[in-house]
Symmetry: C2
Subunit: 114 residues, 2 copies
DNA sequence: AAGATGTTTCGATATTTCTAGAATTCTCGA
DNA sequence: TCGAGAATTCTAGAAATATCGAAACATCTT
């Protein structure tokens, strides 16, 4: 992952509404949520939300698909994971293991690489 | 960590120069680097670098201390770790363990500790 | 086909961010 | 104390971002 890609994803998340949207989509899982539902839930005017969703999509953090009249947005977990990995490797390397403390997810699937 | 704090730190890192600065400071370890050294290394005009360092400091991501004529900046590993943890918990929860794959830094490893 | 619903695009404005030259502050050595 | 070195602050203009009403677009229902 290049620095510019990381900056793009960080910029996309560096706004209260967009971070809230992304968190909500993460909570909503792979099915995602309709734009209208997001707007109502977070009390964001539809055009404004559309603008923010476009930014998240442009950064590759969310995907969209039409479902009837609605458009469902869902978090791209791979992209989010890549960003976290980038930050962990580039902005924590050597110094901040103690603070990370990632217990909420099981480590059962840990890779066994040489 | 509140959402607004996360946004503050994300915003601080969401700029090519600032992300480069922070990476450099992480690589430089706890001793840090003088502002002039950073400016020279990354080819950033001093006033511009000062502006970016102030943003990073304001977000709590870097600390500074005077050393003679120089001012040394160093990464705040705790703050960085908190941000990574926040993203991991709020933006990955349940979906992106595979992508994270954090092998580059071994946990509970305390190498080259003098 | 017409109307209703969900979403985006357009347009105009307000706000924030970025950049770097000039001037200023602080510190050290002579 | 003076001059030089290191960094910041001041300043102002350019660029990017944010907001949302109005209008347009796509889709469903009747």
């Amino acid at each position: 992952m290049r620095l510019d890609d990381a900056v793009g994803r960080l910029s996309a998340l560096a706004h209260p509404s967009r971070l809230a949207v992304f968190r909500l989509l993460v909570q909503s899982g792979p099915e995602g949520l309709a734009a209208g539902a997001i707007a109502e839930r977070l009390e964001i005017a539809p055009p404004t939300l559309s603008f923010h969703l476009a930014q998240l999509a442009s950064a590759g953090l969310v995907a969209s698909r039409r479902d009837g009249r609605s458009i469902l947005y869902s978090a791209d977990f791979t992209a989010a994971g890549e960003l976290v990995a980038y930050l962990y490797e580039n902005c924590c390397a050597g110094g901040c293991e103690p603070a990370v403390h990632l217990p909420p997810v099981r480590r059962a699937d840990r890779r066994t690489e040489p």
